[in-house]
């Protein structure tokens, strides 16, 4: 008789039960989306009740929401930087925080070198700073992670920690510990305008944060969806071996991912700079928050990272607005752990990891 053993039927697309995926336990419990929906409804109710007690009206809530999305936009940019690098190289890049710091520091330095006045000079300085940060990021990958690409993920992560420490130390050496000042983009002056719309006030710079943040993310999406290089990078993210077989230079894509992460970090830092006062050590905190946002969004998903950043920013803002701000981070991390436990692969994508 025929040898049926060698006859292969076209495999059906049954997800292979290749050991429990991170969400293996999810099978035994109610749909995680239901849990999330209920939980957020309860949470919002609690926020609303606490706010009522303080005499909050609609404008106060809107204010908190607006505040949250401004900070959240920066978190989102940093988070997207984490995701881009992680997807292509499989590394959590702790040096991302350093890129966030380098952006504004370099921009201020360039701006001063260009005479320290004028919108064109500021734009040029910012662009140059973004470029320079991307170059630094490229160098970081080529000099450290590329040679160590065979090492375990943990080893490579510790390398990025070392890079962060070194870059921050270098920044301390170059710029000293003093805070720097960057003019607001629209007034070109330290004193930024406050706009008032329906009881909600915001700094004019916030519009820039939203606008440039959105532009960057849209640009990134266009890059990934509509350019050859972007598509190649996506291929690497899906399957590195297959991508290599298709003739894609995976290591180059990894370098490019770092450059993109540098761009994202620098843009995030620069748009934030006028409302903060950049110091050499500003990166750690933003890096950590960006990491949280990236994880909350599933670590592999760009929309997830953006959503993660915005949600984190808004939740923090709401929490600090109605309860005790000192526990803001505690709240954020408790939420994060619960989120991870409920659905580790993130909330937006059907989850492969």
């Amino acid at each position: 008789m025929a040898e049926p053993a060698t006859t292969e039927l076209p495999a059906r697309t049954v997800p292979g039960p290749r050991g429990p995926a991170p969400g293996a336990f999810a099978a035994r419990r109610p749909s995680s989306r239901v849990v999330l929906g209920t939980a957020s409804a309860v949470l919002l109710l609690v926020f609303w009740a606490l706010g009522r007690r303080l005499g909050y009206g609609l404008s106060e809530y809107l204010q908190l929401l607006v505040d949250g999305t401004v900070t959240g936009s920066v978190y989102a940019l940093v988070a997207v930087g984490f995701v881009v690098v992680y997807r292509v190289t499989g590394v959590i890049n702790f040096a991302q925080g350093a890129f966030v710091m380098l952006g504004p520091m370099l921009a201020i330095t360039f701006f001063r070198a260009l005479g320290g006045s004028g919108g064109l000079a500021l734009a040029a300085a910012a662009a140059a700073a973004v470029l320079a940060t991307a170059l630094v990021a490229t160098a970081v990958h080529r000099l450290t992670l590329h040679p160590a690409r065979a090492a375990s993920a943990l080893t490579r992560i510790i390398i990025t920690v070392g890079v962060y420490i070194a870059l921050q130390g270098l920044a301390l050496r170059v710029w000293g510990p003093r805070p720097y000042v960057m003019p607001a983009f629209s007034t070109l002056h330290m004193a930024d305008r406050f706009l008032e719309v329906g009881g909600v006030t915001l700094q004019a710079q916030s519009l820039w944060v939203w606008g440039l943040g959105l532009l960057t993310v849209v640009g990134l999406v266009v890059f990934f969806e509509h350019t050859l290089v972007g598509k190649a990078m996506r291929a690497c993210a899906v399957n590195r071996t297959a991508a290599r077989l298709m003739g894609i230079r995976v290591d180059r894509m990894a370098t490019l991912a770092f450059a993109l992460a540098g761009v994202l970090g620098a843009v995030g830092g620069i748009v934030l700079a006028p409302s903060t006062r950049p110091t050499y050590d500003m990166g750690l905190d933003l890096g950590l928050k960006g990491f949280v946002a990236a994880i909350a969004g599933g670590l592999v998903s760009l929309p997830g990272a953006v959503a993660g950043g915005l949600v984190l920013g808004v939740l923090e803002s709401l929490w600090a607005g109605v309860t005790v701000a000192g526990f803001k981070d505690l709240f954020a991390f408790v939420m994060l752990i619960l989120l991870l436990l409920a659905r580790p692969q993130g909330w937006l994508e059907g989850g492969h990891e």
């Binding site: 025929a2 053993a5 495999a11 059906r12 697309t13 049954v14 997800p15 039960p17």
Partner: protein
């Protein structure tokens, strides 16, 4: 269904995010038999094994082993109840020796809590010595003794299948699940493996195996079940199953005459 079945799969359905991998599958394995499970790729064979080994929980239906339901149990409980398994793509512990693999299999017998381990109690050391002897005996039986102290990553694939088997046997299973024990082996090795499996059956271990190699499974199994597209096609002695037109159709594609 007969009372004397060791394992009973009752109308089991398993779906992944809406995709049905198994639907209403019922079959049984009687003590002392070698039962084969065949079917084209993606038929749900490994999924069924994962359900029996409690690595997955069924969406519906029940799996009964020795008269108790396995549904909802964690995988290590299945092992404790006497279900051991090997894997389609060999799962060994990198960095550990062959002997250590078997010792991990004997883990349950050590009966040693973490505290006892941390303090290296006298009893623990005595047990350890006994386990080591037992492990060596097992390796000897499987012809693995010469490689006892060798880290597994240096071994050829054929031996790895046997290491996995040794590890599974260390659990002293009542039911042994073998996921494609012959794949990746050359004809000689396959022969030896078949021999080994028969020997185990003769010792009273019930064997349930998935195998692609028809010659091997037909020569080995007392009874064969056929899965296709997540459903049980037929079940019976090898020579009958082999002739079943539905089976032939499933393997060669519909419309073709065998």
């Amino acid at each position: 269904m007969s009372q004397d079945s060791l394992l009973r799969v009752e109308r089991v359905t398993k779906a992944f995010d809406g995709l049905v991998a198994l639907s209403e599958v019922s079959l049984e394995v009687r003590p002392g038999q070698i039962k084969g499970l065949i079917g084209p790729n993606g038929a749900g064979k490994t999924t069924l094994f994962n359900l029996i080994a409690c690595c997955l929980a069924p969406t519906a239906g029940d799996i009964v082993f020795c008269g108790r339901s396995l549904v909802g149990l964690p995988p290590h409980r299945a092992a404790e109840l006497g279900i051991a398994r090997t894997f389609q793509n060999v799962q060994v512990f990198p960095g550990m020796t062959v002997l250590e693999h078997v010792l991990v299999g004997l883990h349950r017998q050590a009966q040693a809590g973490l505290v006892a381990c941390a303090l290296q109690t006298v009893r623990l050391r005595r047990t350890e010595r006994r386990l080591r002897e037992e492990a060596e005996a097992l390796l000897d039986r499987l012809g693995l003794l010469p490689w006892a102290e060798v880290p597994v990553e240096t071994l050829p694939f054929g031996l790895l299948r046997r290491v996995e088997l040794a590890r599974a046997l260390a659990v002293r299973p009542k039911l042994l699940l073998l996921d494609e024990p012959g794949s990746g082996l050359n004809p000689t090795e396959k022969q030896a493996m078949s021999q080994l499996v028969r020997g185990l059956r003769d010792e009273g271990i019930t064997v349930f195996l998935v195998e692609h190699d028809m010659t091997m499974v037909m020569g080995l199994a007392d009874e064969v079940a056929v899965l296709d597209h997540g459903a049980l096609l037929c079940e019976g002695p090898p020579h009958l199953v082999q002739r079943d037109p539905r089976v032939v159709a499933a393997y060669l594609g519909e419309g073709d005459d065998a």
